[in-house]
């Protein structure tokens, strides 16, 4: 890494002791100030932080309570941010709000998926999912006849986390439709059990989940995108 020319063994040690956390409050405060004022010392601190953070690698994760994220969001973004949490309870709101998106979805869905398909479109549904805070859109088409779910999401091509697609039948808990791969197009099978749950008053959502998908069968991570289903 970068050489720290003026730094000697004492400085290495001082940085290491600071990072390890063994200094008394006053010494610690002094090291902290030094790290702010002296880039060479800051580099040594970063060196030790990088090396010693390996100790945390085997530590099993512990989930904090959900209230923590809510208060972080409140502190950073104000109270309106709370809507993202109880999002499933506000599906009705979203359905109304995404009416415009849904008509776009119909057009996009037809353009993208039916043009190259010869099979007469039987019962099919589309949804445009608007990811929070971005203008990228995700279009999902569910073909009941073919029992398949097509997801076109250019924005997800670079996404490296486990993303799960959920069907939210009106008034019922979400049902997982499967995990999305980090690529523009995903094709998921629609299980027979889910067929009857796909209705025009339902919605679709994508959540961020642990690797391998939600451990509980219900969305556990943040909701990335949500949109109403529309029959075509």
């Amino acid at each position: 890494m970068s050489e720290t020319r003026t730094m000697g063994p004492d400085d290495y040690l001082a940085a290491a002791e600071y990072v390890l956390g063994v200094l008394e409050p006053q010494e610690r405060a002094a090291s902290e100030r030094r790290a702010q004022d002296d880039p060479d010392f800051a580099a040594l601190v970063a060196y030790w932080e990088a090396r010693l953070s390996g100790l945390a690698a085997p530590v099993p994760e512990v989930a904090p309570s959900r209230a923590v994220k809510r208060s972080i969001d409140r502190a950073l973004f104000g109270p309106e941010r709370r809507r993202t949490r109880p999002i499933f309870r506000s599906v009705v709101f979203w359905q109304a709000a995404s009416g415009a998106m849904a008509s776009i979805a119909i057009v996009l869905g037809l353009l993208m998926f039916t043009v190259q398909e010869r099979t007469p479109p039987s019962r099919a549904f589309v949804a445009a999912l608007a990811p929070a805070e971005t203008d990228a859109s995700i279009v999902v088409r569910i073909d009941i006849h073919r029992r398949e779910v097509k997801v076109r999401a250019p924005a997800l091509a670079e996404w490296q986390e486990a993303l799960e697609l959920w069907l939210i039948p009106k008034g019922q808990p979400p049902r997982s439709l499967g995990l999305l791969r980090p690529q523009t197009d995903n094709l998921l099978p629609l299980s027979g059990a889910d067929v009857s749950s796909v209705t025009a008053d339902g919605a679709l959502a994508i959540s961020v989940e642990p690797v391998g998908g939600s451990p509980t069968g219900q969305p556990t991570g943040p909701i990335l995108a949500l949109g109403a289903l529309q029959q075509i």
Partner: protein, 197 residues
């Protein structure tokens, strides 16, 4: 980039997006990392409610300082962990009367990567454990104990019933040995079986 680092790429990108105010990226970063940061904080602070406060402060800092991340050139996880540990240690110093129950701390000290974990660890982390193994077991233990408890030299001396001066010189010598050992193994690639590159 090698396979082992692909895990880091998205975290870096997420932090980059957080730096420009992308809340979705912040949500994703939180979902990905809060479990680890909370575990680290919990070990130092010892009680859940206070740990959650520290975790909250940490993510506020992460949101505000994300722009500084790239400049520091650190790995995303070590940057995040450093923020969490600093918050936890500062909390500990502000609350000197809180007695951290030693229960559970010993457990954390014994944490070592399982063979499966070892296979997924970055070469830097693997190297750290190799070098810890070269220290006398009690010294390695002391370093881990300091790292996971945030105890001062004095507290460590009391806890181990050893004079402060002795604890200090043990830790300092161990740290220098660690550094020398880490620096002496330049690439550690062979351990990962990186034959292609």
């Amino acid at each position: 980039m090698a396979d082992e680092s692909t895990n880091q790429v998205p975290l870096q990108d997420l932090i980059g997006r957080v730096a420009i105010g992308d809340r979705a990226a912040f949500d994703a970063l939180y979902a990905r990392t809060s479990g680890k940061l909370f575990a680290v904080i919990l070990r130092i602070v010892g009680n859940r409610a206070a740990s959650e406060e520290v975790l909250q402060e940490s993510y506020l800092k992460i949101w505000r300082n994300a722009g500084k991340f790239r400049r520091m050139g650190a790995s995303p996880m070590s940057w995040l962990i450093a923020i969490a540990r600093n918050g936890a240690i500062d909390w500990l110093r502000r609350n000197p009367d809180v007695i951290v129950v030693d229960d559970g701390l010993d457990k954390s000290i014994d944490d070592a990567p399982t063979p499966e974990q070892m296979a997924t660890l970055s070469s830097d982390v693997a190297r750290l454990y190799e070098c810890l193994d070269e220290l006398e077991p009690q010294r390695a233990q002391l370093i881990k104990r300091a790292y996971f408890t945030g105890c001062t030299y004095t507290e460590l001396a009391n806890a181990t019933k050893t004079p402060v001066g002795t604890v200090k010189s043990w830790i300092r010598r161990s740290l220098l040995k660690l550094r020398d050992c880490i620096e002496a193994m330049p690439a550690a690639r062979r351990a990962k079986g990186d034959a292609g590159e």
